[in-house]
Symmetry: C2
Subunit: 155 residues, 2 copies
C-alpha cells in the first residue's frame, strides 16, 4: 500500500472537551467526549477505527492479489476498556466477514496473518496489554456462512 | 474523563481502498489511501489523531483542575513512518502550546506527565518501538513564548 513518510496534524481546543483536528491539507476531524457526539469522535473511537481500518485495507488488498474476489467485505471491531486509569482496550475483538464466489479459508487465514504480523502499522505499535482476538466468517459461492477462529489467536 | 466501557464499530469495503467506518449510533468516518482524500482519512492519520487527541484532552482537563486557564491550547503531532513493512511510526513528536494569563511551567509539566504516565489510554497501548518526543511552549501573561523539552523524554 502506498504510504506517505510522515503525517502532521494540529489539534486545537474549542471549548469544554471539544477539540478540532486539522490535517496539513485542511481536512478536519472533531473530537469530543460527550454523549451528544453529532459528527464528533472520541480518541478511543478513532483508535479502534485506525486499528480495524488498517487491517481491513491489508486483508482486502491481499485477498485481491490472491485473486479472491469478495462481493462483501466487512470488519467488525469491539474494544473493551479497562476499569481503572489508563482505560485502554484490554481486549479487542476483530471479526472479518468475507463473501464471494470462491473464497478459500486458507487464503483468508493467510491474508489475516500477513496483516497482523507483517503489514498492519497500527497493530505493530501495540504492546501485549492489548489482547487481540480474531475470528472470520466466510460465505463462499452463495453457501452458508462458516465461522472460524484465527489460528494464531490460539497460540 | 467520562468513558464508555466498550466501543463497537463496523468497517465496510466500498471500492478500491475506500472503506466506511460506522459507529453504533450511525456516525461514520471514511477511510482511503489515495492522494485525493476529500474528507477521507488513512488509518495512520486516525491513529495519530487518536494519540494526540487523547493527551490533548487529558492535559486540557488537568490544567483546568490546576486552575490554569488557557486562552489558547494546541497540540501539534508529527508521526514519522518506518521505511519497511510494517510502516509504523518510529518517531512521534508531540508539541503542546499553551497561552494564558498565568501559566506555570510546573503545572504544564505535571499535566503532561499525568497524561503520559497515568491517563492517556492510547499512549498506554504503545510499545517501545514508537519513540515519543515531547516539547511544550508556554506564553504566560502576554509574554514571549518559551519552549521546553518535557523532562521525562530525556531519561
Amino acid at each position: 500500500l502506498k504510504t506517505t513518510p510522515s503525517v502532521e496534524l494540529k489539534i486545537k481546543h474549542i471549548d469544554e472537551m471539544k477539540f478540532s483536528v486539522e490535517l496539513h491539507d485542511g481536512r478536519t476531524v472533531k473530537l469530543d467526549s460527550s454523549e451528544q457526539m453529532d459528527q464528533s469522535f472520541t480518541p478511543m473511537e478513532l483508535f479502534l477505527a485506525a486499528l480495524a481500518g488498517c487491517t481491513a485495507m491489508d486483508v482486502q488488498w491481499i485477498m485481491e492479489r490472491q485473486r479472491q474476489k469478495a462481493d462483501k467485505f466487512e470488519v467488525r471491531a469491539t474494544g473493551t476498556r479497562r476499569d481503572g486509569d489508563p482505560k485502554y482496550y484490554e481486549e479487542v475483538d476483530l471479526e472479518y466477514t468475507i463473501a464471494g464466489p470462491n473464497i478459500r479459508k486458507e487464503a483468508v487465514e493467510r491474508a489475516i496473518r500477513l496483516s497482523q504480523e507483517e503489514y498492519c502499522s497500527v497493530r505493530a505499535m501495540l504492546n501485549d496489554s492489548v489482547k487481540v482476538h480474531i475470528t472470520y466468517k466466510i460465505a463462499s459461492d452463495g453457501g452458508p456462512e462458516q465461522e472460524y477462529v484465527y489460528a494464531s489467536a490460539l497460540s
